[in-house]
Symmetry: C2
Subunit: 403 residues, 2 copies
Amino acid sequence: MSFPNIFASRMSGMKASEIRELLKLLDQPDIISFAGGIPDPALFPVEKFQAAMNRALSDGHHAASLQYSTSEGYLPLREWIAGQMAALGVECTPENILITSGSQQALDYLGKLFLSPGDTALVGWPTYLGALGAFNAYEPCYDQLQPGANRAAGDFADQAAPGRVKFAYLSVDFANPTGATLTQSERENILDLAEELDCAVIEDAAYQALRYEGAPIPPILALEMARKGKIDACRTVYCGSFSKTLSPGLRIGWVCAARPVIDRMVLLKQAGDLHTPSLNQMAIAQVAADGFDAHLSCLRASYRARRDRMLAALEQHMPAGVSWTRPEGGMFVWLTLPRGMDGAKLLAQALQEEKVAFVPGGAFFADGSGKNALRLNFSSPSHAAIDEGIARLGRVLRRALYA
Amino acid sequence: MSFPNIFASRMSGMKASEIRELLKLLDQPDIISFAGGIPDPALFPVEKFQAAMNRALSDGHHAASLQYSTSEGYLPLREWIAGQMAALGVECTPENILITSGSQQALDYLGKLFLSPGDTALVGWPTYLGALGAFNAYEPCYDQLQPGANRAAGDFADQAAPGRVKFAYLSVDFANPTGATLTQSERENILDLAEELDCAVIEDAAYQALRYEGAPIPPILALEMARKGKIDACRTVYCGSFSKTLSPGLRIGWVCAARPVIDRMVLLKQAGDLHTPSLNQMAIAQVAADGFDAHLSCLRASYRARRDRMLAALEQHMPAGVSWTRPEGGMFVWLTLPRGMDGAKLLAQALQEEKVAFVPGGAFFADGSGKNALRLNFSSPSHAAIDEGIARLGRVLRRALYA
């Protein structure tokens, strides 16, 4: 039989993630990788997870932790998250929270919730690769969000016809891949645009807790709360994650939004995988409730030092004509190469000649542009690996530029 | 804003599962529930999970168990599953196995893989409610599979026009909700039909390991392997699960199929939630490798006794005109009531008058027929609860029939 003949039309838009393919390279010990976007496993709160798992599997709890559960998620965890959201300026109840299997699943379900084929999603140029992957399954069109200088709402609406703009997706703090942070007025502008387009805003807050300098800026959802007074009147859907703070391998994220959105997402969760693993939710709830802020301080100190190390190494080793971002948090620095250079070709050279890896920029652009850029991760490599890896990258770039 | 205006068209087909709503009743201690389809938590291999979690979180392993992982799944678990599949007559490699977050997620991704709006899925009348829930998101049409006496392939194809039949979905052993098992010749007939229609077969094997009497019948995938010699030539997609054997709360299932299917499903998994939790896969791999067959024997003995108890209680308490299945395994007995009775109305009475719960039959029919039926679960209640609950149900039925 010929399977491709019976696959759904959406499958023509699904292709392998370059990041995931690259992750396979990490197994080779002599490669220095700035690809991936993974936390340093040395910083996982392992002892706390051991204690939490032992408790969740103890007599009083294993009948719940190993059993089926409700699609909404574990109530004590949703209560804890509602408290965190309140501290960010988003007063809400557990009924406004859905637990997802990582925030990647939130993006998949939000694509499923909003996008009919031909509808438009507004995204950054570049944007998070995994968001494009999730949305692609629902056959959208993309248009370019430029938070600092957006086109008029009418222009976006015209471009979207005969479909319509369903949402603006963006990561506001230390975004993947650029490391850029939106100012408060840029956030307000996004809200204004969404009001005019009567569309949703999907606010990806995966990196929000990892700020290394500067004052926190309220999330878009908090700014909308300040305008409207109650969450159930808000159009912003906030996606949070424990992947960068506690553990990505347990796959726990959440969505905080108006009840009409959460209620429909619960249906999608029920139909999609019934619920996020009970044990994992119970363990995360216990570890989060026990010294989360102290753990964040420790993470921030470690990652801040690596960011500084990478910025210093870039200063030292990058040839003229290459520029880069100076993120206030998160895990990534974004390099812009001279026009005409191709990050994908450069990667092949970098791997072969110098055994150093990164993610080429083109993958992050909905239209495939942005080839003269690349993403560097600083949360995973050691200081020594950063020094050595950036020196290697400098040699590759010099050869490519001056060959 | 009015969210419903911007939801995707598929959302009109998504509604709350009656089973999930009913599960909320289980919290009331004075209700005897034959609703749900949950294993007895007293049978979970808790000590083995404690040991497996401690190992997975120990020094040598926590850097993997708490970290991001590959979308395909944990290799040792896929190897173990490939061995199990071989014992069922399906020679395959780990490349033919994808780990999913429960087999519910496999059904969601298979709907996503195969169904464009208007395509036809062949399902039983009744069929597993959660399969309809998963597929509904992809806006299919349904046609009625009757494994014992199917219509001609041409008739199915005509009915499906202008779409086409993409797959036949069925649970072959002790199916949810009926408890029915397909004979080997019925399985061969399904394969013949699928060959003529050039469509896939989705074989849901969630209950396969729970056989209490009679000789095992080869899975459809094994019968197709016997015809074709190699898995990569097969059109059958086998969905397995640890939810009924080890723990549902850890959400671990798998798909075994030809490489072209697995390769595309890996893309969907990557875009959908990156991967199934690393820790859960490692724990299941260890617990499965250590005395799985002995654990199954223990489960079978316990559930067999409950099935026998329920069948005896039905014999004693059911009024004339009510008939039921005698499953060779699984977790369910299916009751057929006299025509004109409505299981949903009966449930309201049963809850109010006798505090006994079940799932009304209509929910399991793609066309909403089958109201004069109900599903009873016997894996969860104790012997005493079975005796008392079936007596209560008998009283409700008597009153409804003779009032």
